[in-house]
Amino acid sequence: KIESLKVTVDFLKVPLGLKKPPLKEALAAVPGPGRPKPLGVERHKPRRSDTMDNESQYSGYSYKSGHSRSSRKHRDRRDRHRSKSRDGSRGDKSVTIQAPGEPLLDNESTRGDERDDNWGETTTVVTGTSEHSISHDDITRITKDMEDSAHLDCSRHLGVSLAGALALLAFLTPLAFMLLPQLLWREELEPCGTPCEGLFISVAFKLLILLLGSWALFFRRPKAFFPRVFVFRALLMVLVFLLVVSYWLFYGVRILDSRDRNYQGVVQYAVSLVDALLFVHYLAVVLLELRQLQPQFTLKAVRSADGASRFYNVGHLSIQRAAVWILENYYHDFPVYNPALLNLPKSVLSKKMSGFKVYSLGEENTTNNSTGQSRAVIAAAARRRDNSHNEYYYEEAEHERRVRKRRARLVVAVEEAFTHIKRLQEEDQKNPREIMDPREAAQAIFASMARAMQKYLRTTKQQPYHTMESILQHLEFCITHDMTPKVRREHGERYLTAGPTIQYHKDRWLAKQWTLVSEEPVTNGLKDGVVFVLKRQDFSLVVSTKKIPFFKLSEEFVDPKSHKFVMRLQSETSV
């Protein structure tokens, strides 16, 4: 069941992508890798970075012993059967989400694929199907992918234009309804005075409101390509189409053919269409916007590298959309990922390096020996008296102390530096040479606290994140807005602790390319227990869903007069 398709989904620059593409098409936007990837090989490779893919454990294991071969054969057969019974692309899906303006595939992923392929060539595993054979639905899927990728762009633009045409039609229909009798049988029409004028005005304003509402709702740049939303949008488009068509039908039969004289009736007919369109717009607002607002699920996002986690409340969203939501919040909630802080100090780790050497005597049980050997090594290592935890503790304590000392020095330096600067008052007569703009003022102060700052950053291993330029800009900001050193210190927490990622310079964001890995199709809605992973090169975000429980709130009335108290005394006196 678990197969990873690395698919790149482009961020949409076109505002409306309204045509509903079939599920596979949306996901399989691989812009022609050219060579048909032998997916059979992929299945048997341990994937390095894929933590969710337990397939990798299987294949890793298979190199060691023979008994897993049969289990894997069984598993393959099971997988194939399952994938046949379902249509479309299923299983582990990877969708790469990119920020607009980035190249479609960055260098990393293409190189990764090539490396995978080469590595796969050297395996000597034998399974039910041979290495280079591909099962039947692999082939169908590949061909479909390649076909669909060519059509994807066209379909998007097609969808947009279709929606636009429909909207225009719907907009002009009431006007046409009202104008046609005037044009065709003007002389026969009954004169229609004040009621008609009132109706004309109402039509005009309602159409204006409809126009503004549609502009507000639909004409926006979406952040990503969301196939799921198209279900609702397609629904709405169909609804509008049916509405307009049925109105035209009745109009043609009842009014045009019979040349109805009652102009007021015709105008009222047009007004009713406009009302219906407004209600459809209301429906659009509810379906597209409001339904997602009410929180239904709690998402827990955990960063795999250091365990930082956050909880978010979302409404009914598709997995893909929830992923984008999480990413948006990730950049301002999670402290920046600092790989330097994650590793144990080297002095602690070095002791672990020396392991046990295991020699096998004789020729018996060569096939089964490997697992037995590794188990023996692990057990022996565990039993050995290991004092590295002690060293780790002392190392940590020492580091903590050092950081605090440096921090104190930094704080004092900052305070002193700020006492040198004073805002120029209007009445002060100063030599023009002495007057500085914020930038120069920042530079002037910076010198006095540079050393303390640098030492502090080095201790907390943050120095790659703060260039001098950024520090100067921050100082400038503080000075311009008259921040007292205390405020500056609070604001400067970003130096003292690792702040959220978004406040660092754009370089630090380290590419906005993420890969979404999930066991369910990413266009499915969120359900209780869904887990998906957002991966990047060096770490990943594991997101798990939990339904917000149903709260049973009961009411209890407390009479204010019932609050009465007595003294509770418990004296014991000795006599």
């Binding site: 003294m567 509770r568 005394l569 418990q570 004296s571 014991e572 006196t573 000795s574 006599v575």
Partner: protein, 120 residues
């Protein structure tokens, strides 16, 4: 033999001991109409606001006279102690001009006491 859980009255005469400037009896009391009766661990009825003996000093005059922990003091020298405040009880026990106090106490006991009283 059988078990009866009942209470019987006893008269106890305590001779106060002089300690410095004070005359002490050698036990502690708890309870009173201004106290919380539910906190009393010795009473059978948790609404009983009477005065109970909560502690008896070892070797003190009270122990020598036969007072036991958990006894409810009904009278002190003829003065009723069942409807007094805690402080009133204390005052009645610690009158400076009295060297001997005669207490009427109620004690709860089991089977053995029945046999003893029958035999004595």
């Amino acid at each position: 033999s059988f078990f009866i859980f009942f209470s019987f009255q006893q008269r106890i005469e305590i001779h106060k001991l002089r300690q410095g400037d004070n005359l002490i009896l050698g036990f502690s009391i708890g309870g009173g109409i201004d106290q919380d009766p539910t906190q009393n661990p010795f009473s059978e009825d948790k609404t009983d606001k009477g005065i109970y003996v909560t502690r008896v000093t070892e070797g003190g005059p009270a122990e020598v006279a036969g007072l036991q922990i958990g006894d409810k003091i009904m009278q002190v020298n003829g003065w009723d102690m069942t409807m007094v405040t805690h402080d009133q009880a204390r005052k009645r026990l610690t009158k400076r001009n009295e060297e001997v106090v005669r207490l009427l106490v109620t004690r709860q006991s089991l089977q053995k006491a029945v046999q003893q009283s029958m035999m004595s």
